[in-house]
Symmetry: C2
Subunit: 181 residues, 2 copies
């Protein structure tokens, strides 16, 4: 087949996949992660069920793909903030608000088990470690980044945006304290 034709098929497949994941996102937003069926996803995406099954074997893998796209989107968002301001504080605050807006639910934790997602967390820790800038010198950057990412996940468990900002402040204070002794 000519290259143009192949490109066009790839573009089409990508568009259908995105439509399926958009439909999944809409259903999750409306009703949470449980009780979604393949028939509903197909209907909402405007594709036949047979087509849907060419892309995903079942609801769980559809949800996993949606979740992976979402996590990748968050990383992209943080990366753009860095490119814009080159201030790690801005990146960490944005991460805290992402955690606040997407607190781990029981069902989400089962999605978090996927290897891709723990890979994404590793990626985020490395991303932060490489961009820490002026911080305390008595602790390796990788450990400080691990501390930040975990501490900021507490944003999923605090009640308000003001509380998220206080959490960011406390976390950054730990990051920048003077070495003791």
């Amino acid at each position: 087949m000519p290259k143009l034709w192949n490109d066009s098929i790839a573009t089409h497949r990508h568009a259908v996949r995105e439509a399926i994941l958009d439909a999944t996102a809409a259903l999750v937003a409306e009703r949470g992660l449980t009780g979604i069926t393949m028939a509903e996803v197909a209907h909402r995406a405007g594709v036949g069920r047979a087509t849907l099954y060419k892309y995903f074997a079942d609801v769980d893998s559809t949800l996993a793909a949606w979740h992976q796209r979402q996590v990748a989107g968050h990383l992209q968002q943080l990366s753009e903030i860095w490119e814009r301001t080159h201030r790690i504080d801005d990146v960490l605050e944005a991460y805290a608000f992402i955690c606040h807006e997407h607190p781990p639910t029981e069902a989400a934790q089962s999605l978090h088990r996927s290897e891709q997602v723990s890979h994404a967390r590793e990626h985020l820790i490395s991303f932060v470690a490489e961009r820490l800038g002026e911080v305390r010198v008595d602790v390796p950057p990788k450990e400080l980044a691990t501390y930040c990412v975990h501490a900021l996940q507490a944003a999923g468990a605090v009640p308000s945006k003001a509380a998220v900002r206080r959490l960011v402040m406390v976390t950054l204070d730990g990051l920048r304290s003077e070495p003791r002794g």
Copy 2:
């Protein structure tokens, strides 16, 4: 039935349950959380399979009960440390080492989904919040405790005991920083 007889039955039931959970713990320690069968648990506990099924419906609920007992044991441990030293730093360091020695695996995360366990985390946060002592005054104790518990969970992702101690130091520095401005 006379009270003595009822007591004796309750004691017996408790002993059998503990033996089942000890057997489960031993199997988990040897082989991890997956692939354990009810037959193995019964054999290791020295009870018949029929007896085992009087206590637990399946492997998942056996594992959940074992995990709940373990989490309760950790809380008890922290509570004893507090009673002994009345220093929250000791409690938080002990918690970090518990996280380091029991890092969340994929399978453990599915156990963590149980409501009892998120209840246990809530309990730990309240426990810490009530015992913080002299800390920064610009953030409510409950939020500071939420920060501590999440930050210290990073201990499950750092490579050495020295790194755990550094993590505790950084976390406590955040907890005790001077309010800004």
